[in-house]
């Protein structure tokens, strides 16, 4: 269509465009300078292939928006987003023709005309859906502010003015020669035909372009900036395995630890703040938030962003200025930080790949290592790990006692064992979990696998220390185990604890320890599939609900193997704790060092989990998991609710061991 800008019009448009984009650039530059206050972050480069793939899948493909509970709104969002991409091309053409009197290539094509019109209509429909949801069906954790309505309003004006000027322009015969006329807006032509069509075209056209420029100026003041920042935020997302926390390299040479100031967070952590869309999905899925704890993961991200916006200028003005310590930003901040179970429900749910846990742990590191301000019970656990090599504070020498009288050799006794079974503290000392260790030993025996344990040479893998924020203790523990592994030439490691598994598989490589690590459940799945063990069923059918441990499931994507093991047991009918299963699995409350802290505020997380378990339609007689801490928490939960006789917490390994056919081997 011929732009209604002749002579002075072009100049006016050029000036307006300059103001609009100038305002955007001014604010964007300021935000960029704030962001650069953050620390360097060496892990954000490299692996280009994976980063580009992420852009295609997560940014362009909108993959993380289509999670089960958010499907409809996810599709609506994707339509608005894809529409935005297409229509932006149209906007560029509009400005080019309005200011410079030229068109971009292919803007005359039918594909172009159809795309713009179809998406304009789809965007309008999606906007209506979004507005209705905001106004009438607001999700409980959604942070609804004027900002959202401003954005929805601006997009509505954009789409309506677009369709109007297209229709009026067509009616006024302004479609240029050889250009495909707007197919859908064309249907509106009868409504706008007449002597005023040309004026309507001019008016709507100007409303449209001025709104585009107002949008540009408004964008960096708004959460809607995520349409720009998601692009780099996805690109620079961590390539660490999800379960691995960041290493503090050369820790003995450092003088400060964790995030004491905004300068101690990395620039990427600040970019996370700019990218947050305030959708609240993180908080929606957070077990701490769901049980009345002060933690709200969305606030963790937004508080840091707001602090940066508030104190950024002062920090830029003086290199000495430190500003408010993020971990003490508000009075309740430490309690928020300690409430986190590091279950990764927030990270899983976030559509724009914000890394919540890293921020929480960085602030915990500051509290724990700089201020010695971890909760007293947590410090007790740390002291116990330091002194006795386990958070319970049980005797180091007693670590292998559970295996007394069994045919479980130590690696010193059987140096040529193929596998090391890294038992972990829970299965070594906790009486309930010792039964799980014994069950695994029986299974491995039955399969004829050559394995040994470290006995008293084993020490805590360090997971609770690292997650409570004591990186130094974690490194000491890890190094002690690495030295022991090296001494015995260990290459393959079996664990029955997902925390041991995660730490040895995903975190020990940071210190140079690379082993073939397997959790017992995937191993048992393989042993069954290969016929190394055979299982027989009892007479009665048992209904078993599977509880996903966070450090198997979300952190390591081990969802199917434990289920396959349950399905291989002839007398077991497996059921899901819908809808809180697989990647939506609800934490037991013990992760992130929470096992070692009191839980006095709100409902206990494990009690809520048992409520969910009791609420499913198919009554389960057992709830099976693959984690010693889940087991402890579930045991406590069913006990507190008085349902221990109705639904028994077990480890999947116990169910398998109890069904081993004579001799085990097929």
């Amino acid at each position: 269509m011929t732009a209604p800008t002749s002579g002075a019009g072009s100049i006016v448009l050029a000036v307006v465009a300059l103001i609009g984009f100038g305002a955007f650039a001014y604010r964007a530059l300021r935000l960029y300078r704030y962001l650069r206050l953050g620390k360097a972050d060496p892990e954000r480069t490299g692996q280009q292939g994976r980063r580009l793939r992420d852009e295609l899948v997560i940014y362009l493909g909108q993959r993380k928006l289509f999670k089960r509970p958010y499907l409809v709104r996810g599709i609506a969002h994707a339509l608005i987003f894809w529409g935005f991409l297409v229509i932006t091309v149209g906007t560029v053409d509009l400005l080019a023709s309005g200011i410079g009197r030229f068109h971009i290539p292919f803007s005359d094509s039918a594909l172009f005309a159809w795309s713009v019109d179809v998406f304009a209509v789809l965007v309008l429909a999606s906007i209506a859906l979004a507005a209705i949801r905001r106004a009438f069906f607001r999700p409980p954790r959604m942070h609804v502010a004027l900002d959202g309505y401003v954005i929805l309003g601006l997009i509505t004006v954009l789409m309506l003015s677009l369709l109007t000027f297209e229709a009026a322009g067509t009616a006024a015969r302004l479609v240029e020669k050889g250009v495909t006329p707007p197919p859908l807006a064309g249907l509106l032509v009868p409504l706008v035909e007449g002597p005023f069509a040309a004026s309507l075209f001019t008016g709507a056209w100007w409303v449209h372009v001025v709104t585009v420029l107002a949008f540009a100026a408004y964008l960096p003041q708004s959460k809607h900036l995520h349409i720009v920042t998601t692009l780099p935020n996805v690109y620079f997302r961590t390539t660490r395995p999800r379960g691995a926390l960041k290493l503090i390299a050369d820790i003995e040479e450092q003088e400060s630890f964790g995030a004491a100031t905004l300068r101690d967070l990395t620039w990427k952590q600040h970019l996370d703040g700019y990218t947050c869309t305030e959708c609240g999905r993180c908080s929606d899925n957070c077990p701490a938030a769901a049980t009345g704890k002060p933690l709200d993961p969305q606030r963790i991200v937004l508080d840091l962003r707001d602090l940066l916006l508030r104190e950024g200028d002062a920090l830029l003005a003086s290199a000495e200025a430190t500003g408010t310590a993020p971990a003490h930003q508000s009075e309740t901040k430490p309690e928020e930080l300690w409430a986190c179970t590091t279950c990764a429900a927030c990270v899983e749910a976030c559509p724009v790949t914000i890394e919540h846990i890293d921020k929480i742990v960085d602030m915990r590191r500051y509290l724990t290592m700089m201020e010695s301000a971890a909760p007293p019970e947590a410090q007790k656990a740390l002291a116990n790990i330091e002194r006795a090599g386990n958070p319970w504070g049980e005797a180091r020498e007693a670590r292998g006692d559970w295996a007394e009288g069994l045919s479980v050799p130590t690696i010193a006794e059987k140096p040529d064992a193929e596998y090391l079974y890294f038992v972990g503290c829970a299965a070594s000392y906790d009486r309930r979990n010792q039964r799980v260790a014994k069950a695994l030993a029986r299974i491995l025996d039955a399969a004829g696998l050559s394995f040994a344990i470290l006995g008293r040479e084993e020490t805590c893998n360090g997971d609770p220390a690292r997650r409570i924020g004591n990186e130094y203790l974690w490194q000491q523990q890890a190094q002690a185990n690495l030295d022991t592994f090296a001494k015995h030439k260990v290459r393959k490691v079996i664990t029955s604890c997902p925390h041991c598994f995660n730490t040895i598989a995903n975190e020990y490589p940071q210190l140079g320890g690379k082993y073939e690590v397997i959790h017992a459940l995937p191993l048992v799945e393989r042993l069954i599939a290969e016929g190394k063990i055979t299982v027989v069923g009892g007479a009665e059918q048992a209904t078993v609900a599977y509880h996903d441990p966070c450090y198997l499931g979300r952190h390591n994507k081990i969802y199917d193997q434990p289920r396959n093991v349950l399905d291989a047991l002839p007398d077991v009918r497996r059921v899901e704790i819908e809808p809180h299963c697989r990647e939506r699995g609800f934490c037991c409350g013990a992760g992130g060092g929470r096992m070692w802290m009191e839980e006095k505020v709100g409902q206990r997380v494990n009690h809520k989990r048992v409520d969910q378990l009791l609420a499913i339609e198919q009554k389960a007689s057992s709830v099976a998991s693959g984690c010693p801490f889940c087991l402890i928490m579930l045991e406590e939960g069913v006990g507190a609710k008085g349902v221990q006789d109705d639904v028994k917490p077990v480890d999947v390994l116990e169910l398998v061991a109890a069904r081993l056919s004579d001799g085990g081997r097929a």
């Binding site: 820790i251 201020e371 010695s372 971890a374 002194r387 006795a388 180091r396 020498e397 007693a398 130094y472």
Partner: protein
């Protein structure tokens, strides 16, 4: 205020102690050593005074084997200002005289000792040190405040507390209190690693460290605890009757 803490390194409470062959000693090979728990409370108490008044200095001293250096290092990591080690064996009165010599040289206003060491549980050194110095002694203290030329010391009693005032210098022995000993910060640990811990031989004190008044006749581990008994058969009345019978006849406690 100038505070000096006398510290003993003992087997860590998480360790399962084994009696050495001969029955007069424990196996120390592969032992995890730690600061005696009441001494840790003494450190915490002193550091709280220092938190309130930064002019306070807190020193620690230990008389014992060379490995006691680790315990002193831990005290430095917690926040004590300096530490010194006297290498040598002494106990009882001999040890008290050795410590008294160190105290005289250091001239503190307050000497703190844990109320007893967790290994031998004698509770002897604090009062004996006060005696050797001819200083006043207040036992089982949980809180401390300076008051010109004197100190005020809190002692927990049943349902309340007493406040004792003593002229300085004074020896206080420290009881467990609600304030758990602090966990060292990482910068504290790093700083402590770099600090010098001066060391000297016990003979250089020129005091009579003899006076071994106690000899261990024999050590034996406590008897292994038998399993519990569950009374499940019958109604409440029958179970209660059963319980009373067993308490009287088997346990012989009624």
């Amino acid at each position: 205020m100038k505070i000096l803490i006398c510290l003993k390194q003992v087997p860590d409470s998480t360790v399962r102690v084994k009696v050495a062959p001969g029955g007069k000693d424990i196996v120390t090979e592969g032992m995890t050593w730690a600061i005696s728990p009441y001494d840790e409370y003494a450190i915490e108490l002193a550091l709280e005074v220092k938190d309130g008044d930064p002019t306070t200095t807190v020193s620690v001293v230990s008389v014992g084997p060379a490995r006691a250096r680790d315990a002193l290092r831990q005290a430095l990591a917690m926040g004590c200002d300096d530490a010194s080690l006297v290498v040598g064996e002494a106990s009882g009165l001999g040890l008290s005289r050795a410590l008294a010599k160190v105290v005289m040289e250091a001239k503190p206003d307050v000497v703190l000792c844990g109320k007893q060491a967790s290994d031998d549980d004698q509770g002897f050194i604090g009062p004996a040190l006060a005696e050797a110095l001819s200083w006043p002694h207040v036992p089982f203290v949980t809180k401390l405040a300076g008051a010109s030329g004197a100190v005020e010391a809190w002692r927990e009693t049943e349902g309340g507390h007493e406040v004792w005032k003593a002229s300085a210098p004074v020896v206080l022995t420290v009881q467990k209190s609600a304030k758990e000993p602090r966990y060292p910060s990482l910068p504290g640990i790093m700083k402590a690693k770099k600090k010098e811990i001066p060391e000297r031989e016990i003979v250089s004190l020129n005091v009579d460290t003899s006076g071994q008044t106690l000899e261990i006749a024999s050590l034996e581990p406590p008897p292994v605890r038998g399993g519990g008994k569950m009374l499940k058969d019958g109604d409440m009345a029958a179970i209660a009757a059963d319980l009373v019978r067993l308490l009287r006849e088997e346990a012989k406690v009624l």
